[in-house]
Symmetry: D2
């Protein structure tokens, strides 16, 4: 029988990435406060394919994942990519995980506990060396400074989202990224708020108005002062309550 | 050659609906103020299939749609369904269209004009008689009465969505449904607002706080008083700015 | 301070459902083969609101969920709804959970093990009595009988999805629903397939062509013969490889 | 009254992009065969913001769009961006449009006509000079060469998507991009197919098996030979019928 994948392709075209996409798999992650956290990831795995080969071996990606899915953290992703390179005879390997991550939060006045979801993305690439990039999406409330200034009372506010993409030296917990970012809007938000907490957040956000322009600078300023962060992109989206479209601002570190 | 679709199925199971789904097609609709409006619909078309037939003829749905797509309004959908029944030898026919619809709005103070998008769904069924149901999704701003009451200043507010599903006697313009519904929140929203408009909406919504419970009742109350509306369902969702989940209320007319 | 939620609404309009929507929360479920399974649910919780009250107490929903999220199964959902009724002074309560659920499968020839994702929805309502409905989405391959018949060689096939919604007497495992449904298409599908498995599935689906009309009847026929299933709706969608739209069939048990 | 947007920000942080996002607006495009085409775009508009200004003027984006939305083509986008730069006193401007575009196709044997949807994205940037990038998503059928080789009969096939991102010299019609790309899979697909067309496509795809690796090279090879294309990225996704995840390949021109 012909081994179709190992046939030769004569067009001299190297493929940058070939692999599996949108695979959904349960994984277990390191958690800063609870040892480990179970979640569900959407996974892309790929390698390069030299110009002389026609195809890769898709089932091997799943086999590698099966061996490692119970103990994933950002630093062990390098081992997974090394194994991908090896079993697929490749020169580069790429692994992307996107998953919901939950952190227990305490309401600001009552102290009531609940879980907040943060969407996380981890993008790893292994060529000669490993590059890891972490993306974290943090929901906040934004209150418009212009609306506050021009109005007799009140100010429009809304749910917003700060999406950061980071490269860094050493270890970085998802929990620490959230802690750095979540107070860069007008106020933090929570799943469970008692009446006294709602009062606090309403007043706090009114005292602390922020354009998307302010929020993106608040985050960039913090990241600039953190010497472990070597590169970042910050995107802020505000789901404007007075419009049906969004306000947006972005800073990318050169 | 066997005609596979016309083979007999012996299991005595009538199929309620068989057809095409998620077909994307450009259509032209009647517009109350501009004669006609071009939009893009996501379309489901189906008929019943008596128990003695194995399959339907999927290509005929597309042929019927091709003949009618340039002149669609709610009242001509009956003709399309009659044609579907006929060419597919069926006893019932169903046609669902979902599309963005744009209405020109004037900002409340400056009068600046812009277009607002409303998501519309029209669901038609033809058995012995025709049933038409119209769904319209209207974005609004909601401002929380509790937050206003308990706070020294400010009140959390956010984008909300009022989704109505209606049956009615006679003709009903999408524009008229939007006009009935859009002032049932704390304020209307717009694509283009100058500074004086932003001030107006900020103050207007602060003066007019509404829970989702209030909004859903505001709409139901209006619909109850309109004798052409024979049935409705109203769903209100508020994308809470202090949470990352939504508040929700629903009333269905018995 | 005014208790705004407990104010009286004079319009005499009962609200059918009021509550929280699109709350994302990690939950732990009973698993037929592994004791328990961690997953992430999208949750809607609501109660009715009598006409005399202005608002409900949204934070209480989260508190109830917090108490129960670590041990959820279909039969304990009744207890959660009873608690919702009680703490919210309501006459009816509704709880909807939607989550990915993973089952280990063995490839048909090699026996290679991997995890397959099934999207599950559980909808509970408590009025005087409890109604539970389970929805399970099962991906399959469908191969077109007409294409096979008319072509010299080959037959178009594609990924399809069987979505079942069920009511039943006694206990029903998600695993058992999947087992009933997954062989109603042209072949079962898997996350990990070795070459011998791919050969098996290719040939198996070619030997077993099925229209969406056939698939929906295959499932309905099975459910009709299962005396524990008291009601069902079956929807089959085939993501046609020769079109950019889908074929669709549906049977609802009267 | 304070002009909050024009206040000074002292943190010395230039914002790369600030503007509006996810604005939905009806637009009119040049059409190669029918003069013009109405469609609905999702629009992002942004400019840079020098470090000394606190905020931009969001309403001006909508005003610029209002003036131009009825006559958009790739070459006039430069004028829109120039106007954005001017009215917002910026040094750079960015305009992204994403919209469905329909092209009439004739079935391969019967010649039956229908409309196919292609998702299009146009990304413009104006700094000192203008950069335009066009993205087009083309659905195709892919048939697996390995499955054909190892199986006694049949071969798994499925819907796939070729997504190209292009930069080019001179004028490039969307219609021409689709024509270049759509025959790089195992067969083209259509909205309306009669029985003789279905036979043709089934047999054609069986005679022309292609891995995602083959498809991505087919496209890259064509683009390399077209001297007007100065840069490209090609991504191919195949919605594998034997799996619930996708196969993927990508080539980026250096």
């Amino acid at each position: 029988m012909r081994d179709v994948q190992n046939e030769v392709d004569y067009r001299n075209l190297e493929i940058d990435k070939v692999g599996v996409k949108n695979l959904r798999y349960p994984i277990v992650l390191l958690d800063k406060y609870n040892d480990q956290q179970h979640t569900i990831a959407t996974i892309n795995m790929s390698v390069n394919l030299p110009h002389r080969f026609r195809g890769t071996h898709m089932s091997r990606f799943i086999e590698v994942l099966n061996r490692h899915r119970r103990e994933i953290d950002i630093h062990r992703m390098g081992d997974i990519m090394k194994e991908m390179k090896k079993v697929l005879n490749a020169e580069s390997a790429h692994l992307e995980l996107e998953f919901p991550y939950f952190i227990e939060k305490q309401a600001p006045v009552s102290g009531a506990k609940s879980l907040m979801e943060y969407k996380v993305k981890i993008i790893g690439s292994l060529n000669d060396k490993i590059t890891m990039t972490m993306g974290v999406s943090v929901p906040v409330i934004t209150l418009c400074p212009c609306s506050k200034e021009i109005s007799e009372y009140g100010a429009h506010n809304q749910r917003g989202e700060i999406y950061v993409l980071l490269r860094f030296k050493g270890f970085l917990w998802i929990e620490d990224v959230v802690a750095m970012v979540e107070n860069c809007g007008s106020a933090k938000i929570y799943s469970l708020l008692k009446r006294e907490d709602e009062k606090y957040i309403t007043e706090r956000s009114y005292e602390n108005p922020n354009f998307v322009e302010d929020v993106v600078r608040n985050v960039a300023d913090k990241f600039n002062k953190n010497e472990n962060i070597t590169w970042y992109q910050v995107d802020v989206v505000s789901f404007e309550s007075i419009h049906n479209h969004d306000a947006y601002a972005s800073i990318v570190k050169n």
